[in-house]
């Protein structure tokens, strides 16, 4: 034990003498762990929220009975089933608007509510009476209370004027949900004696078959392990995970580079230790202990950093998930112990993986080989050939995934193989370029410049690979976001074609508003709108009603359509389908779909496919009049207005004054577009932040590689200084060399990044979101990223170069003398 401790002390003493190397190693491990753990914290937080949502009084985790057609069914069915021995509990669901904001209202019956309904908050016995007797109690999550800007006990007013029950906080409840007694809910939603579903508890005895009690009115839905939200948001989390993984690998590049260099520098020490009687077994064990100890320290620091990163990104992630999928994520980060354990484990495993090559070398360390601190540089040359062969294999794998794959995962596999291949082939490409430079150089210093750059390459190649990957991902993701942004704005012009949008509190108010608008001369057209929710092929479907008007005919963003599509829409037996739905169900123009409607299935011919970016639900658009015939129960509160632009502000003011409408109930086109664009930008704020982090880590990788190489470079530079090249000139040459290899790497990264963007747009986005965006190249953006890369390379090279320029002649003499 004492022997091992002494050996460990000797190994650790290396870091004391080389603090920069230790810092490099720790920075690499900390960055890798922090970014990976940060992303995992975000994913974990989101998934926990989905679970909460799913478990809220009969989400997808509970078996339930729902109407076979339509959204609701008579309450009498509940009574009949209870009498027949079914352990069912009724739920009514709808939406209410408070202060212009929409909330999900759930009516429950606490007495019959099954005890095993997920982690749903139970209504305590003491509060049961208050909950069930008028005015009742409305349970909300703390976040919802904060959103409403009300205190507990306050009674909010719904937009229709109805006074809602007093608020009470229920900490486990999902945000955005209001829970009341079912009788209260039926009153608020004006759905007397109607239910949305029946939750099924654990059966205690035999009960009559469902059909014998409810006929064909109800159908059973089995509990589902994966929630709708989980399914919808899988792609988003996969995206985050991919970024986390990339940052993790870039971090490990730093670790690998630091450990590799430290190992090479310690080779003589390791041989001396062996010569002094340390057995090979003990040395290997101690090397692993040393690495694990360092990884443990770095892992803990990395986890704390990861926590802060996750905390900083959470608001944007929550905004993205809300904007893209309507998922509610609380703004406060709560982490499970597994997260901490997994973070430490990933740090240790990452360090061991990054050090695997060095540890293997240590195991096989020949005792008698002459100490050659830089033998790895020659070995690296041999590896160039193997690496290039591996790169070709990776490219072939990418091609295989592209050709045969048909899922989101294979989309990411294409990207991963492509980037791995590019990183592996980079040193060979640089070697070719530099040797060409050497061949055509004439001046002696020029020849040395190219030759020395080649020699330096092996030490820098990992950092340059990190730079290549970070830049390529930056180019790829920025191009995708910009392409999306450009397409989105054009699409928004088409979708938001009306000049003013009005959302009345209820049908009566909508009727009054329409009558009032007809009297206003500045209103050129009133375009009624409505939407119904149903299910198609096991997934939610939104049915949108569009009036037959030139506003839609001229602007609606159709990707494909039959001849006279809009005319075919009029009779009510045709529909336009969203791109997502068309891709999911492999629909083409001319196909037919059967949509469950209130009165039975509705057969529709597909006459067009339109872009519907950002909508998590599948959607179809039908004639408005046909929609109201098929779904008579839907609220008809929405309308779009065509108004001359200069008269918009006056009309909005008049509407607000006359009908007491808030900003959320009446908005002009410009405001809607600005709001949509804001949500869009927020959605990609996380991507931008992770992009910046990755590039930052790559910059650190380059800096640390240059710093660790700086000392070993001096023996190469000292002879030049000795024969009359000034320190200033040497420093300038060193800077130029670093900038040159960084520039070559950047030039290679640009087309690679565009390829990544194409993969994201044509493969990953299509699989993840169901839509394909046009591919655009943005030259100014590429120029900007090149500038950023060169600035990062300059910053990384500056410190070692300044040190060289300021080095005392005595130090150079000593190095020169010792190296001879």
């Amino acid at each position: 034990m004492k022997r091992a401790l002494w050996t460990l002390a000797v190994l650790l003493s290396h870091w004391r003498r080389h603090p920069m190397q230790l810092a490099t190693l720790l920075i690499g491990l900390i960055s890798a762990t922090a970014l990976w753990s940060g992303v995992q914290a975000l994913n974990q937080q989101a998934r926990a929220s989905y679970d909460r949502a799913a478990a809220t009084f009969g989400g997808t985790r509970t078996a339930m009975l729902v109407a076979r057609s339509g959204a609701s069914f008579p309450q009498q069915l509940f009574v009949d089933l209870r009498r027949a021995g079914w352990p069912v509990s009724p739920v009514l669901e709808g939406r209410v608007q408070i202060e212009g904001r929409s909330f999900r209202l759930l009516g429950i019956e606490p007495v019959t509510l099954p005890a095993d309904v997920g982690n749903a908050p139970a209504v305590g016995k003491a509060d049961l009476q208050a909950f069930m007797t008028p005015p009742g109690t409305m349970l909300v999550a703390p976040e919802t209370l904060a959103d409403l800007k009300l205190a507990e006990g306050a009674r909010p007013q719904a937009n229709g004027g109805a006074l809602l029950p007093p608020l009470r906080v229920q900490p486990n409840l999902v945000p955005g949900v209001l829970v009341v007694d079912i009788g209260v809910a039926q009153g608020i939603l004006k759905m007397p004696d109607l239910l949305s579903r029946l939750l099924i508890g654990k059966a205690t005895g035999r009960h009559a078959p469902l059909e014998s009690v409810a006929g064909d009115k109800l159908r059973l839905i089995e509990p589902d392990a994966e929630t709708d939200l989980e399914r919808l948001t899988d792609s988003f989390h996969l995206n985050l995970t991919a970024f986390g993984l990339l940052s993790f690998f870039v971090g490990l590049f730093i670790v690998n580079s630091a450990i590799g260099l430290a190992f090479e520098q310690r080779l003589p020490t390791l041989r001396t230790l062996r010569a002094c009687g340390v057995s090979a077994r003990m040395m290997n064990v101690v090397l692993v202990i040393e690495l694990v100890s360092l990884a443990l320290v770095a892992g803990l620091i990395g986890l704390v950093c990861g926590y802060f990163i996750a905390g900083a990104l959470l608001p944007d992630v929550a905004a993205s998930l809300r904007g893209l999928y309507g998922a509610q994520i609380p703004g406060q980060l709560t982490l499970k112990p597994q997260w901490w354990i997994a973070g430490i484990a990933i740090s240790i495993l990452g360090a061991l993986a990054a050090a695997a090559a060095s540890l293997t070398k240590a195991v096989r360390l020949p005792l008698l080989a002459t100490a050659q601190p830089f033998a790895w540089q020659q070995a690296q040359r041999r590896w160039l050939t193997y690496q290039s062969a591996l790169a070709l294999a990776a490219f072939a794998a990418a091609g295989g995934f592209l050709w045969f794959g048909d899922s989101l995962l294979t989309g990411f596999a294409v990207l991963a193989a492509l980037m791995l291949g590019a990183a592996l082939i980079l040193p060979m490409l640089l070697e070719v370029v530099l040797s060409l430079g050497q061949r055509y150089a004439r001046a002696p210093l020029g020849i040395w410049f190219w030759a020395d750059s080649r020699q330096q390459l092996s030490g820098l190649s990992l950092a340059l690979m990190a730079l290549l990957l970070a830049l390529a991902v930056n180019v790829g993701v920025s191009t995708m976001v910009e392409s999306f942004s450009r397409t989105f704005l054009v699409w928004l012009d088409g979708r938001l074609a009306a000049d003013v949008y009005v959302n009345a509190a209820n049908d009566e108010q909508a009727h009054e508003i329409r009558a009032w608008l007809r009297e206003r001369p500045e209103v050129e057209a009133v375009l009624p709108g409505g939407r119904a929710d149903t299910q198609l092929a096991g997934a939610p479907l939104e049915v949108l009603g569009l009036p037959d008007h030139a506003t839609y005919r001229d602007n609606w963003p159709l990707l494909q359509s039959a001849d006279n599509a809009w005319i075919k829409l009029r009779p009510g037996d045709a529909a336009l389908v969203s791109e997502q739905l068309a891709r999911r169900l492999h629909l083409s123009v001319g196909d037919r779909i059967e949509v469950p409607a209130s009165g039975g299935n509705w057969t529709l011919n597909v006459v067009g496919i339109y872009a519907d970016y950002g909508n998590p639900k599948s959607q179809i658009a039908v004639n408005f009049a046909a929609l109201t015939r098929r779904f008579p129960e839907i609220p008809l509160t929405r309308m779009g207005l065509r108004v001359a632009p200069e008269k918009i502000p006056t009309l909005i003011s008049a509407l607000q004054e006359k009908f007491a409408l808030g900003d959320r109930n009446v908005a002009d086109q410009a405001t809607m577009k600005a709001e949509s664009t804001r949500i869009f930008n927020r959605t990609f704020a996380v991507t931008a932040a992770l992009n910046a982090f990755t590039l930052g880590v790559a910059g650190v990788a380059l800096l640390t590689s240059l710093l660790t190489l700086a000392n070993s470079r001096l023996p190469q530079l000292a002879p030049l200084w000795a024969i009359g090249v000034t320190r200033r000139r040497l420093a300038a040459i060193e800077l130029l060399k670093t900038m040159s290899v960084a520039l070559i790497t950047t030039i290679f990264a640009l087309p690679l990044g565009l390829l990544v963007a194409w993969c994201l747009l044509a493969i990953v986005n299509v699989k993840a979101f169901g839509w394909r965006l046009p591919f655009h190249v943005f030259p100014l953006q590429l120029l900007w990223l090149t500038g950023v890369a060169m600035a990062a390379a300059f910053a990384a090279a500056a410190l070692p170069v300044i040190r060289l320029a300021r080095m005392q002649p005595a130090s150079l003499i000593r190095i020169f003398a010792n190296e001879r």
């Binding site: 004492k2 022997r3 002494w6 050996t7 000797v10 003493s13 290396h14 004391r16 003498r17 080389h18 003589p268 020490t269 041989r271 001396t272 230790l273 062996r274 010569a275 002094c276 009687g277 340390v278 057995s279 090979a280 077994r281 003990m282 005792l367 008698l368 100490a371």
Partner: protein
Amino acid sequence: MTNGNPILPNVTGHVLHVTGLTKSYRAAGEEVAVLRGVNLTVAAGESVALTGESGSGKSTLLHLIAGLDAADGGEIRLADAQVSELSDAGRAELRRDRLGLVFQQFNLIPSLTVEDNLAFQSRIAGRHDAAWHGELVERLGLGRFLKRYPEQLSGGQQQRVAIGRALATKPLLLLADEPTGNLDEDTADEVLALARDLVTRSGCGFLMVTHSARLAATLDRQVNLHAGVIA
């Protein structure tokens, strides 16, 4: 031979017996016999110079004795230990506890101070003797340099540290491979004189590989390795 010196472990007679030692290497596809049946003994307290032309196998013989490499045939016995029969761990233990090694390249641990370098082997052997350590520091003239790092010392000073480290465990045998090869003549004489002095003081055996006939002549006995055998 009995040594009455309290520093040396109680070993009498020969500390090293090498009998019929053979070793070959493959070079450019051909088998090259480096040692063809070497016989050699070193007694406790005796200093022996091993000379021979370049490539005669001097260093190879030293490495085999130190257990740094394995012989093809023959026998190496260090006191009561059969070196050729030991496992890697056993040979490591032998180097740690019974041998002192000094190389031409000094092979100090650059991240440790002179003081820690001196004490390193004796500490991992669990045989650190503060009094002997102090005596070594004094005799080697390293008192002023204890807090320095190897890179801050001259070649002669570094080799003195290497000798001190090798002798700190009170080995049975000190093996030195061209210990003065990197030093100028005056420094070489000074370092070797110190080594001889300490060997005499400790009473261990001393086997030194050297090219220099002048330095070899200063030791008790000279053996010449020629064509793979002791001439």
